[in-house]
Amino acid sequence: MDIVIRAAITFVALWFVVRVTGKRQISQLSAFELILLVTLGDLVAQGVLQDDTSLTAAMLAVGTFALLSVLVSWVSWRFPRTRPALTGQPVVVVERGEVNEEVLANERMPIDDLFEAAREQGIRAITEVDLAVLEPDGTFSFFVRTRERPGAEGGTGTDVKG
């Protein structure tokens, strides 16, 4: 009983921590942040299991986390209005080649990360980008401006994700 309650409280606390710390994917974490994340997992395990080292206790904690995870995804699917609160919302960071620095500052996202993601998509200059979106999972989606070719009419751009 205790383990299920502690696991449920820890799940909610972890969700809260992840939501308030902002959008970052694992690949963007620095070495220090990665160590912090691993340490966080260790601290959480101690808090949930305490002195109980039995297999049943571990399975109960894992089961509680899995069920709550499924519940969150179901609520997010069934009630779309809860999605911004549960998983976050995408935000536009580049529009018509101009970086919205206020949005990057709000998300505590260094502009270098944006440049790196753009380079990975073969984008040489941000002015080539029609629209860039920072997704809830911390990835960037780029819509590149279509270069006008002689005899061609305007295009809709390309969606690349990085």
């Binding site: 009983m1 383990i3 039995s54 297999l55 049943t56 109960l60 089961g63």
Partner: protein, 173 residues
């Protein structure tokens, strides 16, 4: 050769997706039942009470019904005798129980301990009133394999069991 480089080999169709969904739902149902069992204490720790009467003695045993490896498994014995105790109180505990749980401490400490292959007998000084309470602070041995065994604890009178309580303890992994 074209089939070797196809990127859609092994991609599930709608029917396979439905089957996978049903399997996942079944798995989640099993997981839910498991967690619910844990929530209501069916996977331990869970205590029980058993009693026995015999001679002039009334014995009540508060024991751990379901426990897990390394978990606390306290044991409390209450022995009552109408009119009080005339001499030392002898309590016989199943030896297998003592082997499956590790004792941290006993309150009060017995004066003597003797034993045979099946049981260990603790002799306590008679208390002032008509009730002797013995608390055994213990935990399940961490190396125990999962099992369910029946144990007995009794009060002896003249070396013979006067009141004998029997209970079953489950040790989960």
């Amino acid at each position: 050769m074209a089939s070797d480089v196809s990127t859609v080999v092994g991609v599930r169709d709608v029917a396979a997706s439905r089957r996978a969904r049903k399997l996942r739902a079944t798995g989640l149902a099993v997981l839910l039942v498991f967690v619910l069992c844990g929530s209501v204490g069916l996977l331990g720790p869970r205590g029980g009470v058993v009693g026995a009467e015999g001679g002039d003695y009334e014995l009540t045993v508060h024991y751990t019904q379901i426990t897990r490896q390394g978990m606390d498994a306290p044991l409390e014995l209450e022995i009552r005798r109408a009119g009080g105790f005339a001499g030392p109180v002898s309590i016989a505990v199943d030896r297998r129980l003592l082997e499956s749980i590790d004792f941290n401490s006993r309150y009060p400490q017995p004066d003597t301990e003797t034993g045979d292959p099946e049981r260990v007998v603790f002799d306590f000084d008679p208390p002032r009133g008509n009730q002797l309470t013995v608390t055994l602070d213990s935990h399940t041995a961490p190396t125990q394999w999962p099992h369910a065994r029946t144990y007995s604890i009794g009060v002896l009178e003249g070396g013979q069991p006067a009141a004998m309580a029997t209970f079953r303890m489950w040790v989960l992994p």
